[in-house]
Subunit: 370 residues, 2 copies
Amino acid sequence: MPSPDQAGDPVRDLTAVVPAGGSGTRLWPLSRSSSPKFLHDLTGSGRSLLQGTVDRLEPLVGDRVMVVTGTRHADAVRAQLPDLRPENLLVEPSPRDSMPAIGLAAAVLERRDPGAVLGSFAADHVIGEPDVFRERVRQAVHAARQGLLVTLGITPTSPATGFGYVRVGGELAVEDAPDVRHVEAFVEKPDAELAAEYLASGRYLWNAGMFVVRAGTLLDLLEQQQPRMVQTLREVAADPSSIAERWDSLTRISIDHAVAEPAAAAGHVAVVPAPFTWDDVGDFASLASLLPESAGRPGLHVLGPEDLVLAEGSTGVVAPRAGRTVVTLGMQDVVVVDTPDALLVTTARHCQDVKGLVETLRRTGREELT
Amino acid sequence: MPSPDQAGDPVRDLTAVVPAGGSGTRLWPLSRSSSPKFLHDLTGSGRSLLQGTVDRLEPLVGDRVMVVTGTRHADAVRAQLPDLRPENLLVEPSPRDSMPAIGLAAAVLERRDPGAVLGSFAADHVIGEPDVFRERVRQAVHAARQGLLVTLGITPTSPATGFGYVRVGGELAVEDAPDVRHVEAFVEKPDAELAAEYLASGRYLWNAGMFVVRAGTLLDLLEQQQPRMVQTLREVAADPSSIAERWDSLTRISIDHAVAEPAAAAGHVAVVPAPFTWDDVGDFASLASLLPESAGRPGLHVLGPEDLVLAEGSTGVVAPRAGRTVVTLGMQDVVVVDTPDALLVTTARHCQDVKGLVETLRRTGREELT
């Protein structure tokens, strides 16, 4: 029989923390530094990735959602999330990677409730089965209450080389969390051969950067590695007006490097295997796989008004985002992204190279387009 | 020693007639029915094809240039050719193919000067060596004064299947026209095998639709085939205000079918072989061959501002005509035409199919884009 909090009510001690950062340059010119991918509807759902993330969490946490974002994007986040409580929008004066962002959220939550649990979920990921997601987060909360740092590890469906992995250890006995396991280690992005071994072994999960942990536990683990950072974060939480002068002194570091890897080595990390489809919408090939096929047009995916696209003998992704008619003729696996000030034409095979293209644009005096 | 009129002065009895029609649908979306290809600069020269045609003729005819165009384009022609004498702009109420257009010019010229010679040259062709062109037209004028219908036949450089051909006969003795030959026949566009035979034989030239003939000769030849048409054309020339009511009664027919083919069969046609490069800018592959290569970017041709194009690992034609930055990545022989209301992405291999695409646009309610 499910325990009460699995039946659908919010988890009372959990706050969702949504770091909304990253520029998504491999999705240029859809994603720009002034308007990164989390602000865009990239699935044709009518909701931005950020809004989709909050929608997915709402049955679990109600309005206990905290967003951490940069100064440039704070207004856009407020506009997209009108129900976000003002005290739950943390604005970073400059990007310092994920540890300071999530650490600040932890310090703020710890002051509000010393037993608070936080679940950190990126603003620009897409999850196929939100019910399964929420059920797994509930298991993670049970484990987090035991003082563990808990991650959700995605069951891999391919030997991906674009993600880090989590090596799964033995069972952990946690009530109401039947699937939770020890984590032996976090490992870096593998090469193709190693990725194939990981997949075949059945012992590795994708590290999707989702963490569920008591705010106090996270700060304690961080304190062992970066005592000055924890002190600064607690000072900022106590006096938010001091953020401008203190923030830039913080080390740029990811939560993986700062806390997850050393804590795993010390045996403090658990994982809940997560058998839902997950995508970080990393490039246009990924985008194509998330979009429905255009009606009557096999292999064609349109992000925008379908009637703006005439695709004769063509497959791929076409994003008509400038109100103009886009016509493709005899193009296979094409990527056409039409925006008011910039147009990209490439193929799925080259979509990883879009990042380098954006660097070229910056280097050649076209920074305003990036 | 060259005769005086080969030294550079205008040929006093010659008027250039420039039929400015045709929609150039294989160059969509550059060329539109509202703005056909002759109105566009398609070579990066800074002059439209129409202006380039007139520029090329000016040393030969001075201001004796007559343009025949449709109602929709008359204003654009006047704007592009401010020096065109108003009485030398003939405006067709509806398109009736080339014979009525050139025939009307002949009837108008005949009234002005019974001995007038006309040279008809399409508004949307590109010629590489204008000096050679003019020298060959001078030879054609000498032959035309003898009462012949004279065409310029382009020396073929490939077994093209997109043009009709002229089969060359024996020599003709015409003073100051050493290269003039009899025409045995005009033949239709051949298939590939036949085109290869034509090329190998050395007896065939491309029919570029250029004719030099006395106005009276042309009307006499036409009268043998279409006496009613000649009567109507002479009535319209006598009373230009009657064009509105008379024009639509004229048969739609090309000058080739109406006059050139029967006259050749009767031995009245001559040809001056024309050893200059010639292109009817029929499609984007042709356009690419006419544009210079982008500096430092082998295989890339830009029609528009070079600095709007970033082409990483790409070859082909990019036409940035909307002021936006166009980025191509890893595209070979690509054709990207960016206009304010429509974008085309295809490859050189498919450029013949653009015509069908335009028909699809019309059929699917997007006529305003064509």
